[in-house]
Symmetry: C2
Subunit: 400 residues, 2 copies
């Protein structure tokens, strides 16, 4: 149906007119709470008055921002597509691109991973879940799995997500590495900002990585997979907020996630939480090893695809190509992780883990430590071989 | 308008109903000759009965092959787009995607470059024209020139060209390197075909290049830029038949062209035409140096683009990045050239330059020489530095 604003007064009528939603609530009257800030989306928590555990979330893009409606289109498309490929996506009960509406599971007992990590919560399964999630979404949307036609079709479905790709190009790969009015106003980092703006070898790598981001269509990316896009508890893990989704280089999702783990590591360093830091490092290793194992397992089960026709590759060639592919993917991931770490220090959008450190001296130390790590990641990305290299590099690091 | 088959009896009425075409012929009665083979397209040569130099070509896709209509769509879109970017495209007088009709300049005194090269014709300006053509089409459709949105828009316009991309994936990058029923039946090359099918280092490179072809959207490619897609005489050069156009890696167009020059070099070798061979080698050098100079000149004139925001790069960084970019582009071009050379020996579509050699012994020699060169190109592509390296490599080559 065409767009109509949902409000606390008309939403019950709308929801009960949708067959699947009416069935979900079994015809009971509904309690409606508006819980969003209304900046980009209206968000409603809807609860059955007869069975308070029957709850769901209704998200609708606001009508007065074209970009909000566009975001919702790509969030709907990508979440629905991911849900066909793997677990770890909240149940989608209903969606309507024209209405800009997404109706999904309410994750009542889950927290944002960023908040949880700031509070030093241990999530025993998060790394495994996230490694599995990315192995499935990335492998199954790539030319290692799809036919050539299916791959073209996916590109076509997401190529219109121009605005958010441009945001990433500008705010991850560009502004933080130059003088730019959008950057964070952090006078205490001026010396580093100047150093980086003048660091030609570093910026050569950044241009190469930005060019990859803009010109390679490996797989359907979440596009913004930081710890604030993950909701979890000790048992289950869900990925949300995939409005940046597009067909891009696999390493971007992997690297963004690793970077946000690393920034939490840095933040806990200034608080002396070495045990939590240890958990983060082992999570990075578990994440990558789970990802790599699951990705290779999927590949072994799908040896013929758009890239490799039946009969093209001997088992030996396949193995060698897989090894080379995984190595390049790891390296690109580390390069992208470095960009994400640096842009979170200098750019408009910091991470609460570090910007939220109350003590200015400690915060600056964390910033400088993160900057040192981001630079090391980028300068070393073409030379790292495995996650042990990265763990060593992190352990050996300190504020520059 | 919707599709209607054009025939010698209704085409005059149709043409004179098109304002621009009626003006072109100044209302004169027309002479119609059907000159195509009707396999994929009907082709008509239309001449004014009052002024015999007023001529044009009408191409219409046949109605009984869906793929013919698709090809015409992408040929129309790409030729029209190229025509806005550079010279060397025949004048387009009219086009209609729904009618699958393209009406264009008749190149009366031009020959197919492949035929001309088989006849050892010297074209003094071809290399310069083709280098200029590719510099403009590739640069101006890339993230080095366009805005991010424009680049997305171009991808969207050509992502539907699935069938022809798949043809290239299959017949350039796959079947020729394995046992495949579509390959040419050339028992005298069986030993080499087996060697190549078992050559793991070579096939690792081929997989890498195929992956690039399928996953990188650098620029709008012609997609099939061999010497049979070029019409020329001693003075002017035109590129035609761009139905394979899509957003892909720049090196593919450059490499396809170089490969077809190299195969002509090989063919003239068996005839002992060393002087013509010398012209081909100098044409390869002129082609690349013209391309590189024109590409860099365009880049210097467009320093701010989707990849590089104003203020991001110092002149020194820009220069270093340009040097690295041009080197990688040259290397990928040589890799793609190697694939094109090999697939033309083993695959379904040979080149007349070599398959047309009457003497079986000489033909086999040429095949083997081409195979040796194709393998050298692929094995060396990540190590070559400039066109001199390639010229030396060609001069030092002989049948394997």
């Amino acid at each position: 149906m065409s767009y109509k604003i949902l409000t606390t007064s008309n939403i019950e009528h709308y929801l009960l007119s949708l067959r699947d939603i009416a069935l979900f609530f079994n015809g009971a009257p509904l309690r409606i709470e508006e819980i969003g800030d209304g900046n980009l989306n209206f968000v409603f928590l809807v609860t059955s008055t007869q069975e308070c555990s029957r709850q769901l979330i209704v998200k609708q893009a606001v009508p007065y921002l074209r970009c909000a409606g566009e975001r919702m289109i790509y969030e709907i498309r990508s979440l629905k597509h991911f849900a066909t490929l793997c677990d770890h996506i909240p149940t989608i009960y209903y969606s309507d691109e024209c209405m800009s509406v997404l109706i999904m599971e309410y994750l009542a007992d889950h927290a944002l991973m960023r908040k949880g990590m700031i509070n030093a919560n241990i999530y025993p399964h998060a790394a495994t879940h996230l490694g599995t999630f990315l192995a499935h979404t990335l492998f199954k949307t790539s030319t290692l799995s799809l036919s050539s036609h299916e791959h073209h079709h996916l590109i076509a479905q997401f190529i219109g997500n121009k605005e958010l790709c441009k945001l990433t190009e500008d705010f991850v790969f560009t502004a933080p590495f130059m003088e730019h009015e959008t950057n964070a106003d952090l006078p205490e980092l001026t010396d580093l900002a100047h150093e980086i703006a003048a660091d030609i070898p570093l910026k050569m790598h950044i241009l190469t990585l930005k060019h990859l981001f803009m010109n390679r269509s490996d797989a359907l990316l979440h596009g913004d997979l930081h710890t604030g896009s993950i909701m979890l508890n000790r048992h289950t893990t869900y990925v949300i907020d995939s409005e940046f989704a597009f067909m891009g280089p696999m390493g971007f999702d992997i690297g963004t996630l690793i970077a946000n783990f690393v920034m939490s590591y840095v933040a806990h360093g200034v608080h002396g939480n070495t045990q939590y830091q240890q958990w983060i490092l082992s999570s990075i290793q578990t994440f990558w090893s789970t990802f790599e194992t699951a990705f290779r397992t999927l590949w072994q089960a799908t040896p013929h695809n758009a890239l490799m026709a039946q009969g093209f590759a001997s088992p030996e060639l396949l193995k060698q190509y897989q090894d080379a592919y995984m190595l390049q993917l790891f390296q690109e991931s580390i390069g992208f992780a470095g960009c994400e770490i640096l842009r979170r220090q200098f750019g408009i959008a910091g991470v609460e883990d570090i910007r939220g450190i109350a003590d200015a001296r400690l915060r600056e130390y964390a910033n400088r430590h993160a900057v040192a790590l981001g630079r090391r990641f980028i300068n070393a990305y073409l030379h790292v071989k495995n996650s042990e290299d990265i763990i060593m590099l992190i352990k050996a690091s300190h504020a520059g």
